[in-house]
């Protein structure tokens, strides 16, 4: 457990020394979601209808931006080898790296979403559901993305391959995440969608670090 926390601390410290990499993903999210209201114009009904989908797609793409770097730097300088040979279980260290990735690339999106949602004329309760859905969904995106990042590690042109590999796997999160807000606006209640998101997250928390570890061991051979 101490090794898990040490990995989180290490990755946060590294991000602090190289802020631009983290800020790019956050600014990307802010700019992409702001372009739509500007492009479509003041049509509150239409904007309200497309808001959940746009915010979710922007969150998917913003998460994807940081993924190629998740393991690439550690692989390049040999620290990943040292992690694989460490007495601490590699799965624990990998889980720490995924948590750090979420804290840096996922949590800021969750916190910004209610502010950005205002541009789409979402009412406060819908903003609450949107934030809750992203809070459940963004860790899922980081967990699934880590598997893709590990599988494409060291592959030439891995960034594009990573997008092709991971985006289809993001579809369930997108459907239920955006669906939660839509269902709430339509007055149907978002409970079912949120429960399904939470179930997928619970499943991913157990399996994704394990699958990522297996993929990393292959990449290191």
């Amino acid at each position: 457990m101490s090794a898990f926390l040490a990995t989180v601390r290490r990755d946060l410290l590294l991000a602090l020394r190289r802020k631009s990499e983290v800020l790019t993903a956050v600014f990307f999210f802010v700019i992409v979601t702001s372009l739509f209201p500007l492009g479509i114009g003041p049509e509150p009904v239409l904007l309200k209808k497309i808001a959940p989908g746009i915010l979710w797609v922007a969150a998917l793409l913003a998460t994807l931006l940081g993924l190629p770097r998740l393991f690439a730097a550690d692989h390049g300088d040999g620290t990943l080898e040292q992690m694989a040979l460490s007495p601490s279980p590699l799965g624990m260290l990998v889980a720490g790296k995924i948590l750090a990735h979420w804290l840096l690339c996922g949590l800021p999106l969750v916190l910004l979403a209610p502010v950005l949602g205002l541009q789409f004329d979402l009412d406060p309760s819908a903003l609450g559901i949107l934030t809750l859905a992203l809070l459940l969904g963004t860790p899922l995106l980081s967990l699934i993305g880590a598997i893709g990042a590990a599988l494409t590690l060291g592959v030439r042109g891995g960034g594009v391959l990573l997008a092709l590999l991971v985006l289809p796997l993001y579809i369930p999160a997108l459907i239920f995440g955006a669906g939660a807000v839509e269902a709430h606006i339509a007055g149907l209640g978002a409970g079912g969608h949120l429960s399904l998101l939470a179930a997928m997250l619970a499943l991913a928390v157990f399996f994704a670090p394990w699958a990522t570890t297996a993929a990393l061991r292959i990449a290191l051979e």
Binding site: R10, L13, D77, T79, E81, Q82, S88
Partner: protein, 199 residues
């Protein structure tokens, strides 16, 4: 304690080596030699368990590797710098110890860096250090991480005369305490005793 037998490795169609075997006991060290491309680094990676062997087995204290006990007793320093350029030498040492689940206080980390001749450099980002100094930061792990088996791949590269002598002393001290070492190098090593394996 370390028994290796019948080890074979091929890259693609090419067979690098076959039927490599040796054993090491407390206080012994092995010098792996061979021309470029003979498979020295491949042998090291097989030995530590980073890649699987085509055939053969590696036993540590009678148990087949990779096992937890082996990883706890092993330290492997390869070609890579394996230090984070954005962190200082002190942070690098303490964080890599924490990742290994070992508590390392600042005094002990500082003492290791000073022994490696990095006094006054402990708070600079590693990025501004020279190649040889980066290597010294990595070698400081030999002092902070308690390990029985040292596997050092080309550890003498990029080091100046004083550092080569120092590393030789560190290895000799380690062997005197009952440690073991497997080293690769093209130059003669400043460590007494030892057996040679030519690939």
């Amino acid at each position: 304690m370390l028994n290796v037998s019948g080890l074979a490795c091929s890259r693609g169609e090419r067979r690098l080596f076959a039927d490599v075997g040796f054993s090491l006991d407390a206080g012994e060290w092995l010098h792996v030699q061979g021309e470029n491309g003979a498979g020295k680094t491949s042998l090291m990676r097989l030995l530590v368990g980073l890649s699987p062997a085509d055939a053969g087995e590696i036993r540590w204290r009678g148990e087949a590797t990779p096992c937890l006990e082996f990883r706890r007793d092993l330290i492997y320093l390869g070609h890579h710098a394996a230090v984070k350029e954005d962190l200082t030498p002190l942070e690098n040492l303490r964080l890599s110890a924490a990742l290994d689940g070992i508590g390392l206080d600042e005094r002990a980390a500082l003492a290791a860096l000073i022994r490696l001749g990095l006094r006054g450099r402990e708070d600079l980002p590693v990025r501004v250090l020279s190649a040889g100094q980066k290597r010294r930061v990595l070698l400081a792990r030999l002092l902070t991480r308690p390990a029985v088996l040292w596997v050092l791949d080309e550890a003498f590269n990029a080091l100046d005369v004083a550092a080569v002598k120092l590393l030789g002393e560190l290895i000799a001290e380690h062997l005197a305490k009952g440690g073991m070492a497997v080293l690769t190098s093209h130059q003669p090593l400043p460590v007494p005793g030892g057996r040679t394996l030519v690939l």
